[in-house]
Amino acid sequence: MSQVADLALLGVTKDFGGHKAVNDVSFEVAPGEFFSILGPSGCGKTTLMRMIAGFEHPSAGDIVIRGQSMLGVPANRRPVNMVFQSLALFPMMTVGENVGYGLACAGISKAEAGPRITRILDKVGLGGFADRPVTRLSGGQRQRVAIARCLVLEPTLVLLDEPLGALDLKLREHMKLELKQLQAAFNTTFVYITHDQSEALVMSNRVAVMNHGRFEQVGSPRELYHHPATSFVAGFVGDTNIFSGEVTGARAAGIGIRLSTDVELAGSGSASGQAKAYLRPEAVALAGSVSELSALPNRFAGTVSTVLFDGAASTLVIRADKFPMLRATLPQAGPLAGIEAGAPIAFGFTAEALKVFSARGV
């Protein structure tokens, strides 16, 4: 390795009385990277983050920050700062005092801390707010105070524990962009945990998908979306149609799977026996007649059951003989844009688009 990773976890396990909340997790985060850990609630991501911050101690394994083992180093000595889910701003202090708290703890004089506080507040867009009580800020402003409070200490690593969870949708969308811009501006390594796949995909350089205390897959948002390694990742990341069936054997292109509705499809993967197949709504090609889709190995004729209009994210629910209910993205620029429920429609998809995984362990 040419460059020392900002954060490396080596076989980290956390055992809570027989229950392994985190089970043998290893990964590295490069300097300046925005790394997300994505998983459903209870998957162990919070425990993992608390171990990195120093509030929990691993039962096994090591946590290394810039080449230094953090085992036995208390939370207040680690070059890691955390943005809490509740933000945990100190309500009895002003904005400036909140940001200055860490500097005072580090023994930095008031004379030196003052300009640093002003500079960081300017950078996060809170210039002139130093004397304001934190109780009189909006949700987005409080968010920025929580981040400024960490960044002013110039930590190696900033941990973010679902900090956008409490915000309303509009603000959350805005803060996603802002967080990514802040991270780029400061070039600080961010480790972000969330159960919201959109947050993880939009902001991160790399995402780890976590389930039952283990990492299912680590990769770029594109990799996770287009090439899920496991059934869980295929189902959890992005919107998808899920079918169950049985693998019938290898084919010229990929493998065959017979769905429970008794239709055989061409898919991709290396599964056998009982299996689950995943198909993204936008991977479904739509046409007026089946003959237009002759290039696709899977093609069917059906009728539009429902039109779910949502602007660019509009979808159709399609019913076809022997085929399970299917959702397909409806392009708003194409010839089918004005289609109504009840209209006949043809649909098809490549073998590559249908990801097949063995049903075991799902």
């Binding site: 120093g54 207040n76 890691v80 955390m82 889910q85 509740s86 945990a88 100190f90 708290y101």
Partner: protein
């Protein structure tokens, strides 16, 4: 009309209670304290009772002693109760929380008199502490631990602890655990987190608990009589002796008023020093 009547009926218990039990006796005492005896059964208005208080050193010395010891007792109670409350509020998990709280409450099922008698059994010359220290050879002969200021402060702190722990626990329970963690995460030591995050948050509880403990201590009668020394009087004992022993009600009333004044002034100073408002404190506790 009907609404007015309803309002009157609703307020009546509170008005009667405050009027009959708080205001009326104090007005009576105030009037009494300003009456001086000029002849048998003849009284006129005057400040003689208050002048007597100032003229007689034993009175104002007892008064000052009561004030200082009460402040000391309040501070000691606070220092001992704070870690207990912090543990109950923030560190005890599951069932241990109500159990610990109950343990603090159990001694108060017995009356103050019985509790104080318990201390007497422990501390007297032939008591458990004396015997124990003799058995392990620390002291050669029986030692009397009672009837001194140490025993008095001990008894008063013991009596006040619950009234400090309850408001402190309430105040600390509302402190979000993430704030304590954030305090450490940003580099704070135990002392910094305590000083800048936990104590400021607990301030309303600290003030409320201190006011209650101080008032209970200043006005305590049983504990000083039983545990205190013969030459270390408590001011309530002076009031008692004026009313009951010497049957000098005007003098006793003046003392009573001085005690009320003392409580008020010290509570006011305490609130000013901690920057807490009285109504705010009452609301939060």
């Amino acid at each position: 009309m009907g609404r007015r009547l309803a309002l009157f009926l609703l307020l009546a218990p509170a008005v009667l209670w405050i009027g009959l039990l708080v205001i009326l006796p104090h007005v009576e005492i105030a009037i009494l304290s300003f009456s001086q005896r000029v002849a048998a059964r003849v009284y006129t208005f005057g400040f003689a009772n208050y002048l007597e208080f100032l003229a007689e050193p034993v009175y104002w010395r007892t008064f000052a002693r009561t004030a200082l010891l009460s402040i000391l007792v309040t501070l000691i109670t606070l220092v001992i109760s704070f870690p207990v409350a912090l543990y109950i509020a923030k560190f005890a998990r599951g069932k241990s929380k109500p159990v610990l709280f109950l343990l603090c409450l159990i001694p108060f099922w017995a009356s103050e008199l019985v509790r104080t008698l318990g201390w007497m059994m422990l501390l007297r010359e032939t008591g458990i502490l004396s015997h124990f220290l003799q058995a392990i050879g620390v002291i050669g002969r029986p030692v009397e631990f009672l009837y001194n200021d140490g025993a008095l402060v001990l008894g008063l702190v013991y009596g006040g602890m619950l009234f400090m722990i309850v408001p402190l626990t309430n105040a600390l329970e509302s402190l979000e655990t993430a704030q304590i963690e954030a305090g450490y995460d940003l580099g704070g030591s135990h002392l910094t987190v305590l000083r800048r995050i936990i104590i400021p948050h607990a301030m309303p509880g600290i003030v409320a608990g201190s006011i209650v403990v101080f008032m209970l201590t200043v006005g305590n009668f049983v504990t000083p009589v039983m545990l205190g020394g013969k030459n270390g009087l408590w001011f309530t004992e002076q009031i008692y002796s004026q009313f009951i022993t010497r049957f000098n009600w005007p003098q006793g009333s003046a003392f009573g008023f001085m005690l009320l004044l003392l409580s008020t002034v010290i509570v006011w100073i305490g609130l000013r020093l901690t920057g807490q408002g009285f109504s705010e404190t009452l609301r939060r506790s």
